[in-house]
């Protein structure tokens, strides 16, 4: 789930307003966008890349390692299923508010075809200085800089803030992995932690977690065997209790999800957990034994 500039990227929903805006940004940054899909405009060229009638056709003609979806919720399931069936290896689902049963259907098809889903409701993946897939401000130099810190975040906006703080402290990033905000994600915090742990270009890892669910606890389990310095910030300590699916839902997830529980699990696994975003960069620098470029906040 670390994207590379040779990866062939297909944009589903390329002709829409957002698809157009972000495809231009991706191409401008160095992403290898090989085509787009829109059945009504097949054969045309849009923002410099060919449009195909279907994902299967595009995959056959130009190849597709990665597909990124700018598709509204009602059509998301069919687009995701088609991408998995076309053999796309990595499917980045940006769409928010996809009906949950459609999300489950996408995951089921992806599992059948060996497709990894990132998301739904992810802001995407960034490999600073190389390429990005999604809706992250990779091209804003004050936010992202090439380097050796891997960042995992459910949230795009908070992930942006964290990368910005790292960059200001002179700590560039090896990869940003936006895992997404959907309750049922294809790629979990643990999956992303493993990918960054195995990545030779990553020396330290930042986990931006959130209350609810059990992903941070599961990641903590894996974190025990990680030797690289790890820093986590968990948001939501001051949030009103969310209205999730109620009693039965809590049973299924094993009642995990509180701020205190997540913090404790991560700390027990050797992760440094900080209180505010500005404390992340100094903690990473300390973990790496590196000097911080400029004084950060208390």
């Amino acid at each position: 789930m670390i994207v590379r500039k040779q990866d062939r990227v297909l944009v589903l929903g390329i002709t829409g307003k957002q698809g157009t805006f972000w495809t231009e940004k991706m191409i401008g940054y160095g992403t290898n966008v090989v085509g787009g899909v829109n059945p009504k405009r097949a054969g045309e060229t849009h923002v410099g890349v060919p449009i195909f009638a279907s994902t299967a056709e595009a995959a056959a003609k130009v190849g597709a390692d990665v597909a990124v979806m700018f598709i509204p919720p009602p059509m998301a399931k069919d687009a995701g299923v088609a991408a998995a069936e076309a053999g796309v290896k990595l499917l980045v689902v940006l769409t928010e508010h996809i009906p949950a049963q459609d999300v489950m259907a996408m995951h089921a098809t992806a599992a059948k075809h060996g497709t990894r889903i990132v998301g739904p409701n992810t802001a995407g993946l960034v490999t600073p200085g190389e390429c990005f897939v999604g809706i992250m401000p990779a091209f804003v130099p004050s936010v992202f800089a090439p380097g050796r810190v891997g960042v995992i975040s459910r949230s795009g906006s908070l992930g942006t803030l964290v990368c910005l703080n790292l960059t200001r402290a002179g700590l560039g990033q090896s990869a940003f992995i936006g895992i997404g905000g959907d309750p049922m994600l294809g790629t979990t915090t643990r999956d992303a932690l493993q990918a960054l742990n195995e990545d030779a270009g990553t020396d330290a890892i930042v986990i931006v977690g959130e209350i609810g669910g059990g992903m941070e606890e599961a990641a903590a389990d894996y974190a025990r065997k990680v030797k690289k310095p790890m820093v986590a910030f968990i948001t939501g300590a001051a949030s009103p209790p969310g209205k999730r699916m109620g009693h039965a839902g809590a049973i299924v997830t094993g009642s995990a999800g509180s701020y205190a529980g997540k913090r404790k699990a991560l700390e027990a696994a050797g992760v440094v957990v900080v209180d505010t975003p500005a404390q992340i960069a100094p903690a990473v620098a300390a973990g790496l034994g590196a000097p911080v470029k400029q004084a950060a906040q208390s």
Binding site: H97, A100, Q101, S142, S157, P183, S239, A248, A278
Partner: protein
């Protein structure tokens, strides 16, 4: 979206072929008496989408129309959880031999539908899980398929259900089909009762419709229970914005749920109290103008933090909305900005020029100042 018991039974269970007791919905004590005359000995049940209605005194037996009228008078207007009781269900009394629990919901870690069944019905599922975890049977289902008769029989094996086994297996299959057809997030029957005459009947039902699927369930969506909202939250909902009012005095306007929650966390960290949660993430980022109006409409707000970190959400578009609203509303409260990410150069320039305000580099600094100003 939540539904009360009566609506869930009438719109989901009965059409799915799952038996429910005879019942009549009433709005007044007089109607309750009339209904009880038709139904006979009955249960008077408060219709609110909240748990523990029985413990709150919202469910009572009545053997005559006079009793029903009396009891109805007590329950109507009662507060249960966040709700005031305005509807009653007059339901025939059931002669219960055994009580079971069953539900279909999403298993978010397996990313599959899950059917739950327990012979310990009538109590909360958390209580069952705490006291008798071995009494809960689980069956994960492939979403592209449906549970096979064999899988359901396997799930119920060894539970000593006697002659009710066939009926229960049939109900589980129907419940799963209804969960799929109606985009349920949760569809629960508790208790599912075996009656003295051998029938198996749903005595209660909880149905939560997936909010993301409301658009494709038009026949039922209009019958959901409106959530309990403040006037301002209602205005937010009408504008397509998720606003939650809190008891603090530092107003929050940020983009994206993660950044908004973090802004609240940092306010708390510096000893302040957030006045609201207001998210203008995703497609809502173009609504900063109405969002600012909402935050400032709360008279409790003494200072304001505006925290934009643009990814998808363009900070230039958000700042433009804020500036427009600012000129219109001319707010008196001090405001502290932090702006970064997509469109930040234009956004910062706009705020400097139009509002003569210098955004902070770190959100921590902006928030610390806002907390001080609110005190």
């Amino acid at each position: 979206m939540n539904f009360d018991e009566h609506t869930a039974k009438a719109l989901i269970l009965a059409p799915a072929g799952i038996a429910v007791p005879r019942a009549i919905l009433c709005l007044t004590a007089k109607e309750a008496a009339t209904a009880a005359a038709q139904i006979g000995p009955c249960v008077v049940k408060a219709q609110v989408p909240a748990g523990k209605r029985g413990k709150a005194g919202g469910i009572k037996l009545a053997n005559t129309p006079t009793e029903a009228e009396q009891v109805a008078g007590q329950i109507l207007g009662m507060r249960i959880g966040d709700y005031t009781v305005a509807h009653l269900l007059i339901e025939e009394q059931a002669k219960i031999a055994r009580e079971f629990y069953t539900a279909v919901l999403h298993d978010t870690s397996a990313r599959k539908p899950l059917i739950l069944f327990s012979t310990e019905g009538g109590m909360d599922i958390e209580e069952i899980a705490a006291e008798k975890p071995q009494a809960i049977r689980r069956l994960l289902v492939d979403i592209d398929d449906k549970p096979s008769a064999g899988a359901i029989a396997g799930m119920l094996k060894g539970l000593d259900l006697g002659t009710a086994q066939g009926q229960i297996a049939d109900i589980l299959a129907r419940l799963y089909a209804a969960y799929r057809a109606r985009d349920a997030e949760l569809l629960e029957i508790n208790p599912l009762a075996l009656l003295a005459d051998g029938r198996v009947v749903a005595l209660d039902c909880k149905f939560v419709l997936d909010d993301a699927a409301v658009y494709r369930q038009p026949e039922i969506a209009g019958h959901g229970s409106p959530g309990v909202m403040t006037e301002l939250e209602q205005r937010g909902a009408e504008a397509g914005l998720k606003l939650i009012q809190l008891d603090g005095n530092v107003g929050v306007l940020a983009n994206g749920a993660g950044l908004t929650m973090t802004t609240m966390d940092v306010i708390r960290h510096y000893g302040g109290r957030p006045a609201n949660f207001l998210e203008i993430g995703g497609e809502a980022y173009t609504k900063s103008e109405v969002a600012l109006d909402l935050v400032l409409s709360d008279p409790g707000v003494k200072s304001l933090v505006i925290n934009f970190c643009g990814a998808f959400a363009r900070t230039d578009v958000m700042a433009d909305g804020v500036v427009k609203a600012w000129h219109k509303l001319k707010p008196k409260v001090p405001v502290f900005f932090s702006i970064h990410g997509t469109g930040e150069d234009e956004a910062v320039a706009l705020v400097r020029k139009e509002l003569a305000i210098e955004p902070y580099d770190f959100i921590e600094d902006a928030i610390q100042e806002a907390v001080k100003a609110a005190q």
